[in-house]
Amino acid sequence: MTITEAPPAAPATPPEPPVRKASTRKRLVPYWLLLPGILWLLVFFALPMVYQASTSVQTGSLEKGFQVTWHFATYWDALQEYYPQFVRSLLYAGTATILCLLLGYPLAYLIAFKAGRWRNLLLVLVIAPFFTSFLIRTLAWKTILADGGTVVGILDSLHVLDVTSWLGWTEGNRVLATPMAVVCGLTYNFLPFMILPLYTSLERIDGRLHEAAGDLYARPLTTFRKVTFPLSMPGVVSGTLLTFIPASGDYVNAELLGSTDTKMVGSVIQTQFLRVLDYPTAAALSFILMAIVLLMVTFYIRRAGTEDLV
């Protein structure tokens, strides 16, 4: 900030003016570095948001054109009409997040602590699905869960489907076009987003802490509960956020694997934008979803209290 902070200039030159010039330039460096990112955010995030916000308070039709009329009632109408889809979205995304955590934690733990020289290979395998398109992979699940397919056959013969149908997750001997199919698709698609942050935070834990806990009379399970898990909380929080947020806005899984009864809010927005061409409603729905997710995330981060874990 001041002259004293600048590194001493060459001793031969008169000290005052060149030093000051250097320090001004130095002060500007962070802003220059920020510039590309800021521009990017402005063009691709801030401007569309403003545009969308204005769309959400417009009225009119495609033929006559839309005008900003500050018609906030669109929000209320949209929420009233589509609240089941909102609830469903949050429910599916929440379930998928919990499943991802349950599936991903043991795997991340294994990679971080037990994999030895297989560690890098396993990590590549975790990311490997990304080499294929999201759409293709979801379509593949359509085949996997197809009626009369092997998976459904096995689940049926094990009477798993009886239980899930009783719970309302599947219908009869079908898995496709049921809530379970959508949740399976979401879980599958977002699992790597859970595993990677979990792995990163587990891998950072000093192995000696496990030894220290064992030395201080903690059994392996207690060590996990009192040391490993609390220390992996940053990974749990970022993993659940990275899973829950995109999952709650996702529409591909609901479209491809679900039915009209399993529509999520993402598919509603997509339909409103691209088929019904009711832009104000679609924009309003987007903002409502954003607000809900933002509120939930804020509450969650407050509760998790990860800021003192660093």
Partner: protein
């Protein structure tokens, strides 16, 4: 020397019997018998890779011995996991739980054993290590020395039968290390628990421990009190690793009762037979050792003033360095190429400068004799490695 081990009451001794550890084809610890008497401050001293830490970890239960048995008192604990052993460890770099505050770190062991009211004990323990005001801080808010004390408190609060310290002072700077050495010694005297301390720093081991076991290549070279090890090294490794020794290759000329006379480079030297750890016979070879601070230095012109009955060697000063409390000379002598002499700075003789011809002389009783079949430089390079 092992007899020092049997002076205890015997009930809570740590006894290692034929214990060894092998990783693949590497023998980290070769079959080892060791008894650490209850209530003693015991140091395992050696260069890195000598097996001292592995030995400690086998006592803690963090490493399973390939062969042998670990006894705590009369109880065989070899197969017990760490959390079932009445032993606690102060880890190298402390391994404090970063997500818990100091209070909870110290209370950890008590809570795991289901003790509900920990407040009094934790407070007492934090006072013992003088950290009473830091209870609510997180480990990363403490300095290295404070973290080290928390690690000690966290282990000691459990009143273990044995406290294991794995290079506990390695991460501290020199001044703090001196301070903590005295601190740990004070704590040990106060609580009276057996301390087993692993270190590569010979000064640290000698300052703190009652008994030191010098380890080399997975074996205990010699065991004894610091003074005993220093004055009567039995191997070249111990002679060189603990402080500095001048080792002279000599030939046994004659034996008069309990005095051995040897010849080396034309000089006749005498030493007590009782201080020869190798069998002596006329004509046999022997390494004669003498510590640098036991030697007096006289200018060649004053050779006549040297009293009779002392061992004498002539040489030329190759180098001298003044280090305040003493002056260290390196003497070039036909008997031994780099003879080291530490002279107290009481009366400095200005003639004793590099190039001066000198006579080295010492009391024959201060010499010791070692088996000449050993590597004369054992223990020297390993020390340098550790420093760099």
């Amino acid at each position: 020397m092992t007899e020092t081990a049997s002076t205890s009451r015997g009930g809570g001794d740590v006894r290692l019997s034929g214990i060894s550890k092998t990783y693949g084809s590497f023998h980290a610890v070769k079959p080892l018998d060791l008894t650490v008497p209850q209530g003693s401050f015991f140091a395992l001293l050696g260069a890195s890779g000598c097996g001292k830490t592995t030995t400690l970890r086998m006592i803690a239960g963090l490493e399973e011995p390939t062969t042998g048995t670990v006894f705590l008192g009369d109880k065989d604990v070899t197969g017990l996991p760490p959390y079932k052993r009445p032993v606690n460890t102060v880890f190298q770099s402390y391994a404090l739980f970063p997500h818990l505050d100091i209070y909870e770190n110290v209370a950890f062991g008590l809570r795991r054993r289901g003790i509900k009211s920990v407040r009094g004990q934790v407070g007492e323990m934090l006072d013992l290590v003088q950290l009473g005001d830091f209870a609510k801080r997180k480990p990363h808010q403490l300095s290295g020395g404070q973290q080290q004390r928390v690690a000690v408190a966290r282990a000691l609060i459990n009143h273990p039968q044995v406290l294991l310290l794995d290079e506990p002072l390695g991460a501290l700077d020199l001044k703090l290390r001196r301070q903590m050495q005295l601190e740990l010694k004070r704590i040990q005297t106060e609580v009276g628990i057996t301390f087993i301390h692993v270190t590569h720093d010979q000064e640290e081991a000698m300052t703190m421990a009652d008994t030191v076991a010098v380890m080399n290549g997975g074996l205990v070279e010699q065991l004894g009190s610091p003074a005993d090890l220093y004055e009567n090294p039995e191997t070249t490794f111990v002679a060189n690793f603990l402080g500095t020794s001048n080792l002279i290759e000599a030939e046994v000329a004659e034996i008069h009762g309990d005095e051995v006379v040897v010849t080396a480079g034309g000089a006749k030297l005498r030493l007590p037979a009782g201080r020869c750890s190798a069998p002596t016979a006329s004509g046999g070879r022997l390494l004669v050792g003498i510590r640098p601070e036991k030697i007096s230095l006289a200018h060649a012109d004053d050779a006549g003033t040297i009293p009779d009955g002392r061992n004498r060697i002539t040489g030329r000063i190759a180098d001298s360095s003044f280090i305040g409390v003493s002056t260290q000379y390196v003497i070039d002598s036909p008997v031994c190429p780099e003879f080291e002499v530490y002279a107290q700075n009481i009366e400095r003789d200005s003639r004793l400068a590099p190039g001066a011809e000198v006579v080295l002389h010492w009391n024959p009783a201060h010499s010791f004799g070692l088996d000449a079949a050993q590597d004369i430089d054992a223990g020297i390079e390993t020390v340098d490695e550790e420093v760099s």
